[in-house]
Symmetry: C2
Subunit: 170 residues, 2 copies
């Protein structure tokens, strides 16, 4: 099993028709925050910009590193506090990615369609899967249980198609 400081986010094109992202749209965090009259400081703008633009899921430490490249004076606690603010407002989702690399959390801008994250135990890659079935299940759960779902997280761990092909016997 590989150790992966940097998990790979496979894109739709990389994995052919393994993916299925119907209309997955991310909102603009800045716009949302402005609409909600949240004070956007320089540091927040920087941190949020990094989350928003990142092609992969970032953990707090990586986010701090990236932020420091632009503003070396930025503090770890500011990063955590900004993450906390975005979480509380439901603008980002927190992921564990099956703890494939430690206990840290990863973040991504909330999309209009929730999706499944799959972490490969062999290569450490992270794949995403979006489908209408997930939205339907969400709706079914809410309707049947009377539970008002504010956040939902579907994560899987296993072996990706590529790795299965490489080493056929699991």
């Amino acid at each position: 099993m590989k150790t992966l400081s940097n998990a790979i986010v496979a894109t739709e094109s990389q994995l052919g028709r393994a993916f299925n992202h119907p209309e997955v749209t991310r909102s603009s965090l800045m716009r949302e925050l402005t609409a909600r009259r949240v004070r956007i400081t320089e540091q927040r703008r920087l941190i949020i910009g990094i989350i928003q633009d990142s092609p992969r899921h970032l953990d707090a430490a990586t986010l701090l590193d990236l932020a420091r490249k632009k503003d070396p004076g930025i503090d770890r606690s500011t990063v955590y506090r900004t993450i906390g603010m975005l979480k509380r407002r439901g603008l980002i989702d927190e992921l564990d990615l099956m703890h494939i690399d430690g206990e840290k959390h990863y973040y991504e801008v909330k999309t209009n369609h929730d999706h499944c994250h799959m972490a490969c135990f062999k290569c450490g890659g992270i794949m995403e899967y979006t489908s209408a079935s997930f939205e339907k299940l969400k709706e079914e759960i809410a309707r049947t249980s009377g539970f008002d779902i504010r956040v939902i997280r579907l994560e899987a761990g296993g072996v990706c198609r590529k790795c299965r092909a490489t080493s056929p016997a699991p």
Copy 2:
């Protein structure tokens, strides 16, 4: 928001038809371990027995406390190592319960049907929801993506029916 050292697991009967557990069966950990020729020491038997018999999801610290009531000499690391062993063998599932009470993890014996855990941000209760749709979604994801799913976790956070009734305006 309540602080909850001990989250409540609502049962099917408590929540009326909010639940739907088709054939959710837990395997016997002892039997599984024996079949796999895993050495079962006294301490492991004790720890595993507690996990198996617990009506609610336990975190490592609680598990340690309970184990110490029967064997005060048992060590924290033994508990963690036993949990790790069970996890690696896919006999227990690890839950975060939306980090409703800190960053700890909770454990439960793997069932033959995966289910959704819902954590209420107001009362801290944990509800479970099992449905054939989830199994179907799992199957769809595996089939479409070619990903061999070994573990899967569906967790939601929000407000349970009871709490919604109590304080209507979210």
